[in-house]
Symmetry: C2
Subunit: 350 residues, 2 copies
């Protein structure tokens, strides 16, 4: 199978030149001219020939000239082709992997684990590391416990998905005694442990409706608790970001207004969250290059993500955000390995 068959209209030489150009641009951050590319490629071609090839690549929408007499720069499509078929990944050194492993193993509780992942990503890649927290969608109730706090407040403690703990303060109509609360908890635990949180809630409400009359006080209490305690938790803290300041190091992104928008995006989350949600479905490393993300704020940025899983279940997504000209060959393996290690660490903690 010839190279042409893989990438119609693009012979091997053109591909090689594209690859060289992208690599150099990633390294230097400057538009690449024909002379420089001819020299760097090592292909013993004259700049003029290289110019012809570059013109072809530009026609195909893979390159772009900032202006008449600057060199050329890869377009999003150019990066895409590069990443998909030209890129040779730089596998991590075993020592590096070991090092990462150790840093994970030092961490105590799961919450810190995610923060660690985020800041590891950011410090190794010098990009902004992001970690999307475990989704609450399919929270399975393992156990519930109630503690009286004050006159009309009860603390509900839900142990969810066998590993996560949620506290919610419930306002109640009247004071409940400790033993009342204990019986309510027992009732709910026996009925619902292992079931989906929101299903549980619906089920309890149904029971309440159909049998309101013969319900005894204990039942009523239990259901009041359940209703208030299982309410949809406000979707806070959806993801973590570390190392935003790393982004400031890149020339393309040092324009203040651009940065502003980016930070706003981080704060308001919405766009980035959608992107992460997409990645959640796919498995393995996913790459969004520039405009591909569909969000204007991320126009000059690429996002490299990978889902992480524990016990065969996908828990969330992690990755990095950086300029389109990030060092994909290094970043991709790092994101990949970090996702695996985070999964493994979560498994162990469990």
């Amino acid at each position: 199978m010839s190279a042409e068959a893989m990438n119609p209209d693009l012979n091997e030489r053109a591909q090689y030149l594209l690859k060289t150009l992208v690599e150099r641009y990633i390294r230097e951050g400057q538009p690449v001219g024909s002379r420089a590319l001819a020299r760097e490629s090592g292909l013993d071609l004259s700049p003029a020939t290289v110019r012809n090839v570059m013109a072809d690549l530009e026609d195909l929408g893979l390159l772009h000239s900032p202006h008449t007499s600057a060199g050329r720069v890869p377009t999003a499509r150019g990066y895409r082709l590069f990443v998909d078929t030209l890129l040779k990944l730089e596998p991590l050194q075993i020592t590096q992997v070991k090092d990462l492993e150790q840093r994970f193993s030092k961490v105590q509780n799961p919450a810190t684990l995610l923060e660690t992942a985020s800041s590891l990503l950011s410090s190794i890649t010098h990009l902004a590391g992001i970690v999307m927290l475990p989704r609450q969608d399919h929270a399975t109730l393992r156990q519930v416990e109630y503690l009286p706090l004050s006159e009309n407040q009860v603390l509900a403690i839900l142990v969810v998905n066998d590993r996560e703990v949620q506290n919610r303060i419930i306002r109640t109509e009247r004071r409940y005694t400790a033993s009342e609360l204990e019986r309510a908890a027992n009732y709910i635990n026996s009925l619902c442990a292992g079931k989906d949180l929101y299903l549980v809630r619906e089920r309890l409400m149904e029971e309440l409706k159909s049998a309101r009359e013969q319900m005894n006080t204990m039942m009523l209490a239990a259901i009041e608790m359940a209703d208030k305690g299982f309410d949809k938790r406000p979707p806070s803290d959806d993801f973590l970001v570390a190392g935003q300041t790393n982004l400031m190091e890149y020339g393309e992104l040092s324009d203040v207004e651009k940065l502003r928008q980016l930070f706003d995006a981080f704060n308001h989350k919405r766009d980035i969250l959608h992107l992460l949600d997409q990645s959640l479905k796919a498995s393995g490393v996913q790459i969004f290059i520039g405009e591909e993300s569909g969000y204007e704020v991320l126009d000059d940025c690429s996002v490299v993500t990978s889902p992480y899983e524990a016990e065969g279940e996908v828990l969330g997504v992690l990755g990095v955000i950086g300029p389109t000209r990030m060092a994909y060959d290094r970043v991709i393996p790092i994101v990949d390995v970090t996702a695996r290690l985070l999964g493994a660490a979560l498994n162990k903690q469990q």
Copy 2:
């Protein structure tokens, strides 16, 4: 008492001109020249006279010329004098206070309350809002509860300071039954409720030492729990920041390198935390202007803080960080009121 007595070497006219200059500089952000100041002051003085006064003020270290032929700009000492003796505070409209009050009252749980305070501050002042979380130093145990999680894990739930809940996962030597855990909790609760967390720990350890032999299993269990569960919690999430992007709107701070340092400071916390710690001791609004903070990163920034308290006890500090030329007359009352409202809201939640 004459004005000279209050500020030696500074007559009333000079003070008034300084005040006018600072106000204009805060408003416009541009060095103020003699002509503009003469006009703005309304004092029917010629620019030349004003120049003489300005020269005096410069000699006193209250003003500064960026270069020979720009206007003048207040120094940190100039701001300090302005804030201490010249500033007339702009009291909040009653409607504004009511509005704030309402926004606080909508919030459910204490953690969100602090976030709300932070983002309210930032959105109203257009500066970066900061809220230092309640200090853990004098955590008083109210109640402790244990839940078995898995073979060798127990979930400890500490209700601390009557309002805050901490979860800690404890690794144990062996499996404990639910009733064992319950008895351990009862033992600790009866013994220690209302006491300082770290005192409790020491006391338990002492008991363990002095009476190891006749200790029964239950006691041992209880103490194992207590030891592991009361351990010093890692000092995470010391403070919240909202609205960092607001800082980018100010010309003085839009230099990328400067912003970089500032964000780094936010991330690494140390300097800012020290500053907040200082404010914790004083009561009422505190103001650090530029270099006064003692931290280079904050050289062109001022920090306005106020401790907030509930039930007569100081819980933490909140405030804003912004450029030295922030609108002190507006900001100070806002910080003040927000601190009071946060305190009140925390009281109510309790």
